[in-house]
Subunit: 235 residues, 2 copies
Amino acid sequence: MSGSLPVTERTRLRRRPQRGSHEMDTILRILDAGLLCHVGYVIAGEPFVTPTAYWREGHRLYWHGSAASRMLRALAPGLPVCVTVSHLDGLVLSRTGFTHSVLYRSVVVFGRTAAVADRDGKRRAMDAFLDRLYPGRRQELRPTENAELDAIEVVSIPIEEASAKIRDGGVLDKEEDLGVPCWAGVIPVRATLGASRPDSGILTDPALPAPLAGYRAGASLDEVLLAMASRDAAG
Amino acid sequence: MSGSLPVTERTRLRRRPQRGSHEMDTILRILDAGLLCHVGYVIAGEPFVTPTAYWREGHRLYWHGSAASRMLRALAPGLPVCVTVSHLDGLVLSRTGFTHSVLYRSVVVFGRTAAVADRDGKRRAMDAFLDRLYPGRRQELRPTENAELDAIEVVSIPIEEASAKIRDGGVLDKEEDLGVPCWAGVIPVRATLGASRPDSGILTDPALPAPLAGYRAGASLDEVLLAMASRDAAG
C-alpha cells in the first residue's frame, strides 16, 4: 500500500503544499476513516455534486445507488468524476480574523467511472460494502434478491490520480500578533456515535451484537471505521 | 424566510421525492447547521470538488480563500457551481443488505458565482463570517490589514435554485422481512465538540470566553451553529 502517486496538473498542490501529500498510505488512511464522499460530475457542461456513501477495495473507490438516480444514470456509462472526502477536525480561533481556520483532513480523487455490470459483480461488491462496515452481519440477513441487484448501479474509480490535504496542529499567529489579549486555541470536532436505537420488534437482544461492539456510544466514527479497515488489511 | 423555491430541471427530486424539499425554511435550517460545504465546478470540461468553509447572509452563500487558489482563481470571474452541504446523522442497520442506509440532511445549491471585488466589501463579508461563528470576538482581534484583504477572494451565490433532502427515522424493512432474526436499528452520528485547547501563551483565562460558552465539550456542532444563526435572525 505504500508509495507515492504521480503528481498531475489536477493533483498538484498549489496552496500550502506542505499540508498536502500524494503518499498512498496517507490517502488511504483518510479514505478509510470515512463513509460519506461528495461525487462531482458534469452534465451538459454544468457541475453536480452528490453526497453518497463509498467504500474501498484495494486501490479502487466504489459507490452505488438506484439505477434510476440522476447520478448513477450519468456515471454508469463511464464519466470523469472528482470524488472528495473531508473530515472536519476542529475550529482554530486565532488572534487575527485572517488566521482563523479549521482543522481538516481531505482527499480528492480524479478518475473515470467504470460500472460493475453483472449481477455477480454487484453482489460481490455490495457484500464487500456490508462487510467493511458491519463485520459478521451479512450472514444473518435475508439474502439479496436478483431483482434488488438489477435495480442498482455500482460504479468505481481507481485511486491513481489523487491527493490528500491535512491541516492539523493549532494556532499559527505571527510573532507580532501574540500580544493580542484574546482567547486563542482549538475547539476539536469529531463525528461521534450515539447510543444505538433498536428497531421495534427485533428478535434479538437490544444491545448491539458482539462483532459491532466497536459502535459504542461516545466512540469516534473515524476510529471505528479505521479499526475495521485495518482488521480487513490484517485478515 | 418562508416560501418554496421554484423547481428546475436540476433541482427536481427524482429519487424518493418524499425525502426532498424546496422549502426555503428547510434549506436554510440545514445550511445553518453546518460550516463545511463542497463546491463543485468545471474547468476545461473536468469536474472539481473542493471542500471549504461557508457562511450565509440572507439568501446568499459565501466562501473565501486565497486569491492564488485554483478554486478561487476559477470562480472569481463568475462560473456555474454546485454547492453541497451534508450532515451525516446515523447508520441504519436493517434486515436486508439493500435496506441498509444512512441518515442524513443535505442541501444542493446551483448558481453562478459573483465575486466581492472591493476591500470594503471583503472586509464586511469577512466580518460577517467571524460574527456568525464567534459572536463578540471580532472586536478583540488585531484589526484586519488591507494587504490581507487584497490576498483573498470572496465569492457568493444566491440561494435561489436549491433543494434539500432528508433521510431521518429508522429501519424501513418490508413486512415480510421483519422475521429475520438479526439486530436492526439506528446508530446515531453527530459532529461533537471536544474540550477546547488554549494556545500556549494566551493572555486570558484558559476557559472559553462567555460569548463562546456554547462551544462546550460534548455539545453538538450542529446545535451550536443553529443556535447562533437563530440569534442572528432574532437580533
